[in-house]
């Protein structure tokens, strides 16, 4: 709890200021404040607050059931199509921002993953992580999410292959911070 408070000082300041503003607006019948709360904030928030915990429970369950280490063994240089599929599934199970993917690519590179699979990992990581997909379906709908996933997949695979062709005869390494 303290950690959450510490990391979110500015956010809590905004939340407290807004709460006070709305409370004061209601007590003195200040329409601007009332309308910002009623017409905007309340409408956006009410379904989200019910929906978000459900999504996060799904994400948490995914996290405890997927075994990352088993997958990492099978995505080396001669892994072919199976390697591509595995690396995509591996990255789909991740959580977190893009810069969280780079340390994992270092581990993959050290374990002998191919250049192609490393970049496919990054691509899938930033675009089709399951936690993100659940959010996308929830807020933008199935149609959008399915279309985006279908178009993104071939493109990140093509870029992975392209990166490998570009870098094949040059020294490639992932540095550790």
């Amino acid at each position: 709890m303290r950690e959450i408070l510490k990391k979110n000082r500015l956010n809590f300041l905004i939340i407290v200021a807004f709460t006070v503003f709305v409370a004061v607006s209601y007590s003195i019948n200040y329409t601007l404040g009332e309308n910002i709360f009623k017409e905007q904030f309340y409408g956006f928030t009410k379904e989200m607050i019910l929906f978000l915990p459900i999504m996060f429970i799904l994400i948490g369950l995914g996290d405890v059931w997927i075994n990352r280490e088993k997958v990492e063994k099978h995505i080396g240089k001669n892994s072919g199509l199976k390697g591509i599929i595995l690396v995509i599934f591996l990255s789909m199970a991740q959580v977190g921002p893009l810069y969280g993917a780079f340390p994992v690519t270092y581990l993959l590179w050290k374990k002998g993953a191919s250049i192609r699979n490393i970049f496919i990992y990054i691509g899938a990581f930033c675009t089709i992580k399951i936690p993100m997909i659940t959010f996308e379906i929830g807020f933008l709908g199935w149609k959008f999410s399915v279309l985006r996933t279908l178009f993104t997949l071939p493109i990140i695979i093509i870029i992975g292959v392209l990166m490998e062709k570009l870098l094949k005869n040059k020294s490639f390494e992932v540095k550790q911070l």
Partner: protein, 158 residues
């Protein structure tokens, strides 16, 4: 949203049958993640509420709506490439923008560039891969994001 709730309930039941201990661990993990992101989500919702209250809907529709033309896409692509917004916040925000009248194709370009291109995270990426590879990756992904955005827009316009 109902479908996701059903999926979640089924997943929880299946997981409980397979391993009760693991299930609680997962649920707890998820809820802790939720609490961690909640302050950020709330404050973004507050700021967006205030902004949208003062910004007339017609203005948003005119500049980012269906008939906004190429400028809207250029704006979305630039904003998406530069911005560093976690998906947990970007998607609720995108959902609100769609309800306000921003067209799906514009949102598609914004979301794809947001996810695939990271100008602000470039310094971190360079530390791992070096300048050359990082630049090539971001340029290729920028083009890729535009292609995906364009393909999605075909399905919404036609």
């Amino acid at each position: 949203m109902e479908i996701l709730t059903i999926i979640a309930v089924i997943a929880i039941i299946a997981s409980l049958i397979a391993d009760r201990h693991k299930t609680w661990k997962g649920i707890k993990k998820g809820l802790v993640m939720f609490l961690k992101i909640l302050p950020a989500i709330l404050s973004v919702l507050i700021l967006v509420s205030i902004l949208l209250y003062f910004l007339p809907n017609e203005l948003i529709v005119e500049y980012l709506g269906e008939d906004a033309g190429l400028t809207a896409y250029v704006f979305a692509a630039i904003a998406g490439s530069i911005a560093l917004i976690p998906g947990f916040i970007a998607y609720p925000l995108a959902g609100i923008l769609v309800k306000t009248g921003v067209s799906y194709p514009v949102i598609a370009v914004f979301i794809t560039t947001l996810m695939m291109v990271g100008i602000l995270t470039l310094p971190v990426e360079i530390k791992y891969f070096g300048i050359r590879i990082s630049l090539i990756r971001n340029i290729l992904y920028f083009l890729g994001a535009l292609i995906v955005g364009f393909l999605i827009s075909l399905f919404y316009i036609l």
